[in-house]
Subunit: 155 residues, 2 copies
DNA sequence: CTAACTGCAAACATTTTGCACAACT
DNA sequence: AGTTGTGCAAAATGTTTGCAGTTAG
């Protein structure tokens, strides 16, 4: 919706055609950002909108999007992959952490500050050159922490 | 093999029986530590050893092990879950990072120093209480970095 | 017009489940 | 004896693929 032309460019410069299905999947991702949608959720949102699309096309499209850096494929251990728009996919890829609440299951995003220290450390100790990272932090969000405190008598 | 009795304790104090199948799965995990084995790999190693066990028992066993903190379930985005022994599962759970080489696919383990800063930061900014984390760092190991340099003319 | 893309259905791979039998306690 | 665990086969789940028809360039 917003930078639709740079989306189209990204597709074409990587040798893929710009099709209505791909535009539709992209617009669902834009409208729901920064949500982490599964292929099926996207498929359902599209059919609810009376757009006829095959689930396999959604999968294929998300595969392409992830390959060319339009989306990130993320996994929250619930048995299915989720896809989120890469912010500013023209510029540098700035992946973020996911804060996964063990209480309510909600997922928040946090910027990946402080990772540089860790990456330098790993480079030094392991001679391992980091290109990308995936950080999942499990715990309790503010709301669920509060709830726990009340239930357990602020233990 | 090594702390077999504390393994048995852990099982029993969590209300599970100590069975030969569970001991066998545990010993495979010990012998192959710190590898990250899939359910099927464990199943194959056991049948090669002429031990008769069902694949579903392996899955059920690994599920229990993970629930009671004997193993960690980890996922390297290749479509199947892997399981690794939690070191010193009597004491504190000290999860480590995984360095996943994009060149050769090898996975190294790195201790999770420096995560405390990050966790404190997240607690401050998001009021999110971290219980556990999963950190995957993608990049190139020393060997593959070297190979890349030679191939591309030390660019 | 040709190559790339789509939709459907069937295939796949991993994991889970129902059930009869076996093993613990 | 009664609960818990096991093995098999079948089901379930998420994802991929083959193919005939459609669309893009």
């Amino acid at each position: 919706m917003k930078n639709n032309s740079s989306f189209k460019n990204k597709l074409e410069e990587s040798g893929h055609s710009f099709t209505s299905q791909r535009a539709e999947v992209y617009s669902i991702l834009c409208e729901n950002a920064p949500a982490h949608l599964t292929a099926e959720e996207i498929f359902i949102k599209l059919t609810q909108r009376h757009l006829k699309i095959g689930l396999s096309t959604v999968y294929r499209t998300l595969g392409i999007f992830t390959n060319i850096g339009i989306t990130d494929k993320v996994d929250f251990d619930d048995g299915m992959s989720r896809y989120e728009l890469v912010e500013n996919f023209d510029g540098k890829n700035h992946r973020h952490h996911h804060l996964i609440c063990l209480g309510c299951g909600r997922v928040e995003d946090a910027l990946d500050d402080l990772m540089e220290d860790l990456e330098n450390d790993v480079l030094e100790k392991f001679s391992f050159n980091i290109i990308d990272h995936s950080v999942k932090l499990y715990g309790y969000c503010a709301e669920c922490s509060m709830k726990n405190k009340i239930e357990t008598g602020s233990k």
